[in-house]
Symmetry: C2
Subunit: 417 residues, 2 copies
Amino acid sequence: MRIEIICTGDEVLTGKITNTNFSYMAQKLEDAGLSVHWGTTVGDDREALLTAFQLAAGRADAVIVNGGLGPTVDDLSQEVAAQAAGVELVLHEAWLARMQDFFARRMRAMPPNNVKQAMLPATAEMLDNPVGTACGFALDIGKARFFFTPGVPRELKRMLEEQVIPRILARSGAPASIYLKRFHSYGLGESHVDQLLTGVEALDPDGGVKLGFRAHYPQLETKLTVRGTDMDDVRRKLAPVTAEVRKRLGNFIVAEDDETLEGVTLAALTALGATLTLVETFTAGQIAARIAHLSGAETVFRHGTVSRHLDHLFGVALPRESDQDTTEAVARAAREQTNATHALAVLVELDEGADRIDFGGTIWIGISTAERTAFRRSRILGGREWVRLGAVELALDCLRRFLEGLPVVERIDFEKV
Amino acid sequence: MRIEIICTGDEVLTGKITNTNFSYMAQKLEDAGLSVHWGTTVGDDREALLTAFQLAAGRADAVIVNGGLGPTVDDLSQEVAAQAAGVELVLHEAWLARMQDFFARRMRAMPPNNVKQAMLPATAEMLDNPVGTACGFALDIGKARFFFTPGVPRELKRMLEEQVIPRILARSGAPASIYLKRFHSYGLGESHVDQLLTGVEALDPDGGVKLGFRAHYPQLETKLTVRGTDMDDVRRKLAPVTAEVRKRLGNFIVAEDDETLEGVTLAALTALGATLTLVETFTAGQIAARIAHLSGAETVFRHGTVSRHLDHLFGVALPRESDQDTTEAVARAAREQTNATHALAVLVELDEGADRIDFGGTIWIGISTAERTAFRRSRILGGREWVRLGAVELALDCLRRFLEGLPVVERIDFEKV
């Protein structure tokens, strides 16, 4: 099954906006076990669009076209699609009615130029857009099935998942059920995780499980794409592989699927009825910024402090070089003085010198509750930004480990020993 | 002059990484008065690469190819370029020596497979890469001049600016000097600024000035691309337009060129020998995270507080609904208790209800010094994230205005009155 993507629009072609729709579509197709073979980007230009459609029609089995379905004169997708397919544009009465209803429910009259969005090539199949006025459509051009989708990301996402991918899967003869299981880990590099997971795909002897990765430093996403005849089959294939991945990556898995490290940490605090105080220095509010705005944080997040004047913190005198006692004392004092059940203190000492790839920093993490204290020291190299990103993630992960009863000190790939 | 871009690599084609190199290149070309006509994305696949090169060679005058210059077997650009041009690969002795030197200075032996990076098509002109081991090269395929560039963004940027764009400009016969002037504004939407700047291009009667925009909500970047016969000519053309843009956008310009809002604010505080204290609620440390980590902030940024338990802040009792007196009292108390010269307090009250597009919040901003106090109240709609982004930007901008002696209260397009 050869699939191509054509992205249209002057804003994308001139780089005015970064084309995140392309990577989104390509990933979603990969997650469904499909692959993109070719990508084309053209502007709002009749001749370029026609050439792009014709070239793709001659090479591909399925083509996803993104953008150009709006109401304005520079939105040309329907018109050029009709031309490429050699058919007329006709009014799609049902979609026109849907649009009129859309405007009526918002107490507005439909502008006349929106009628254009209901003009579809005569041979097209309409693709529903439940969240906008640009309907999509599918039609044959040459030997390929074309799927036209809106450029607005929110509208594209719904249509791709609900309308386009199921149709492409049906044409590809792939099994009916596909499921994507995701693990988010922190502390292990991609090649390390790849090596740790050697052979897990083979736990499904039918070859229905495919392993993949996506790195978002400092986290890594491990993806299992599972194909089966139905969801029961998928679950049967997935269960032993999921168990094995959890066993092999162990404490390094910070979250699964749509969960996040900060979400898991907040949930653990909420479950304990806990309140949290943060103390930050060079991380400069970035730890607070990950957790304090979340829904539910208003009852958990008691207090955050950012200080770059490192003489005293919560009455604790800071020596010239940090040590374990100072870090723990700051965490304890912050917890007591802000009446929180938990405190996390993250002190960072940057090296001297220029901000280069070998520039580093030392990170001192203290966690305090009424019952116990935990401490972690780490060295991270890679420039100021890298040290800061690393310190934020390491601190949140230490708190997660503390709350989950896991060891707070465990060697990670990103630190210098 | 017809220009195409070909991006290569499985990681880009599968969406594993978002293709920011494409938009970067397209913008840099636009800034130089050049336009991209067509973009192609293909994987690390010999046949696809050859087809892409041949198609572009038949259509374009200049083609920029990005990626595939690495030392591993899946890096195919040199090899397929030679095939498309019908020439052999030959060892480029000078680049080999440069690479050997590169490794020697790092006390490492050059791995044998790096030799591959010095194998260039026989007819190629080498393009220098001062920051990596992948040299670029230019050669003719069909009627087009091809420019091969590395995929690593940092290496691409240097080579594009220093090697590729000057060569394309020389071929296009465009004037020798091109300059890009940028203004960053906050508070006015793109169409509003476009309307305010009507006619400024005409201040250069030769048509050498081109106006453009790039929106990064909540900021807007206004760009003037100026072409002249030399830099004196550029300066002469630019001066009246720059003065006019500054006059028309006035207080809304937060920074120019490579400056940022937070950098300008930090510089103003530094110039005063001032120290800063921040108090945040729903913005959750995101204001601190913009400014407290910057170089130089260690002497200016005294203290940041994030609280989501809104009963007391610095001893000030918070009423159920915020008011001007409370906000100003919090700023004053925070300044006094942390021994800072300046305090910025940003209280946010979210509306009740679900997080939808019409969900909003009220923002209360107080600024305090020993001599004076400033206050700003604003309403922003658009969902939780939108309110938070808006509150962070509005607060930083109020502080900038305060420090620059401009009115802190001035109507912006993004607020609901």
